[in-house]
Amino acid sequence: MGFLSSIFNRKPKERFSKPDLDSAPHVKIDFSGIQIEFLDAPHNAHFPIHDKPRDLDIYDEYGHDFICDENYRYRKIYVTGCDFVDRLQKEHAGGLIIESTLVDYGSHYCKETNTHSLCNRLNFFTPNDLFDWILDDCHNMWGKQNGASKIGDLGDGTYVYPISSDELSITLHNGCPCVKAYIDYVGMAPEFVYFFPISKRHLIVLEMKCEAYIFYDFYDPTLPLEAYSYEVMERFMKDFKITLSDRSKKELAAARPSIMDEVVE
């Protein structure tokens, strides 16, 4: 009877599928004592994943898999794509790409000796250094695509992104300080970026890229793409938690001025 009632009372399927984060596995990784916890959102996007979450010694100057820039090195620590599938058209309509990158600004690469050395030019636990880096990153990521010549310039393109520290503020996300940025793409699917300073030289950059594939419009009120994207994003962020290591806590406590003095509700 229970079997029959489960068949007859079954709700009709929604036209668009959405990932179920409530049943997603909970992941906990350790970056030299810094604990990062999050839900491993189910990946069903068409692109392959190469970056699986794993423990790292983030102070290891010779750590593999880092991409070295002139002034810093970085590596992806987590990439997943949660697509919404249109069951009617049998195609992927849009989705949310969650991408997390570890940035290490304390390591300086020397081409001549092919080695890394420590540098202490920046302290991400101070507001100025944190904001300057974020604005520089925004300029590199979207400003250059907009044709902007320097930081503080929006250029002529279609991206709208932070260009001044007045647009940035520090909040606490599950107890950990972070800066959130909203990247508008004029009428197209937007991006959300969370910057978490996890040591005075390390940042975790968490990007949420909303996607609407061809023939689908992210803002179309007859489609659930916008609502689903924000729902998945909110569910993912609800469980995303960073707990600083003792070493990072000491660095945070010693920072003058401190980002903690700038925290807004």
Partner: protein, 264 residues
């Protein structure tokens, strides 16, 4: 219910029977121009859907309930006239004519226009009346220099028909500039251009970079024959003046509300 009504009629109790509803009530046309809601009350349409009109052009489909006028993914660039644009609706009415006069119709096309990227710095805020007027003067100046008309390609985009290809469908104007009248309709700035007796254009800026374009065309038999029937022109004028006062644009209270909720 029908049976009861028939009985009441037979019994002479006509006053108890509701008269058949008049089928001439205006139809509410509603579409979201990104987050801005456009509403118009349209008199009952008496022409078939514009998709069946043939080569007169118009949008590739009825875009209701939404068109992305912010991202503009379906806009077509028309450099010669200095705009990007797309049509999103068309409809029409049969016009009465005197005995012996050829058939006539009034057709309405709705489109959204925006200046090209090159023109954006010059026309930075279309909500400013002088800016939108200046853009319109430039638009008509370009348009009248070379008689052209817009039509629909097989892919559904708008295209310019040259004099050779349009089969005489272009709007040929001897004047080199047009007279633009500006008025307020329900709080919205409306620029009115009477191109000739058969073509009336209304432009309504609805964002810093966007203009709503209501194009009324009075067409004769064969679509491009000029209409001179006084009866037809009078009725067309009545319909246009019935539609215009119903124009309503409702702007979003806060366009970024949904994302702000997420980022909070």
């Amino acid at each position: 219910m029908k049976f009861i009504q028939q009985c009441l009629r037979k019994l002479g109790m006509v006053s108890l029977v509701q008269p058949p509803a008049e089928d001439h009530a205006p139809e509410l046309y509603e579409i979201l121009l990104f987050r801005t809601k456009l509403q118009l009350a349209l008199p009952k349409l008496t022409l078939p859907p514009w998709e069946e009109w043939g080569s007169i052009g118009g949008p590739n489909k009825d875009w209701r309930p939404y068109v992305n006028t912010k991202g503009k993914p379906h806009y077509t660039r028309v450099d010669e006239l200095g705009f990007y644009g797309m049509g999103f609706y068309g409809c029409g009415w049969q016009l009465p004519v005197e005995d012996g006069e050829p058939a006539a119709a009034l057709r309405l096309f709705l489109s959204a226009y925006t200046p090209t990227d090159d023109d954006r710095p010059k026309y930075s805020n279309m909500m400013d009346e002088t800016v939108s007027l200046s853009w319109l003067q430039n638009y008509y100046s370009n348009r009248l220099k070379k008689p052209i008309s817009l039509s629909r390609t097989t892919e559904g985009h708008m295209e310019i028909l040259s004099e050779e290809t349009s089969g005489g469908g272009e709007i040929a104007c001897a004047e080199e500039s047009v007279s633009i009248e500006t008025s307020l309709v329900n709080g919205h700035t409306v620029h009115h251009v009477m191109l000739d007796a058969n073509h009336a254009h209304y432009w309504v800026p609805f964002s810093k970079v966007d203009l709503l374009y209501l194009e009324f065309r009075i067409t004769g038999d064969g679509l491009w024959t000029p209409v001179t029937s006084r009866t037809a022109l009078k009725e067309a004028d009545r319909i246009m003046h019935a539609i215009l006062p119903t124009l309503s644009l409702t702007y979003p209270e806060n366009e970024q509300l949904s994302h702000q909720k997420v980022i909070k």
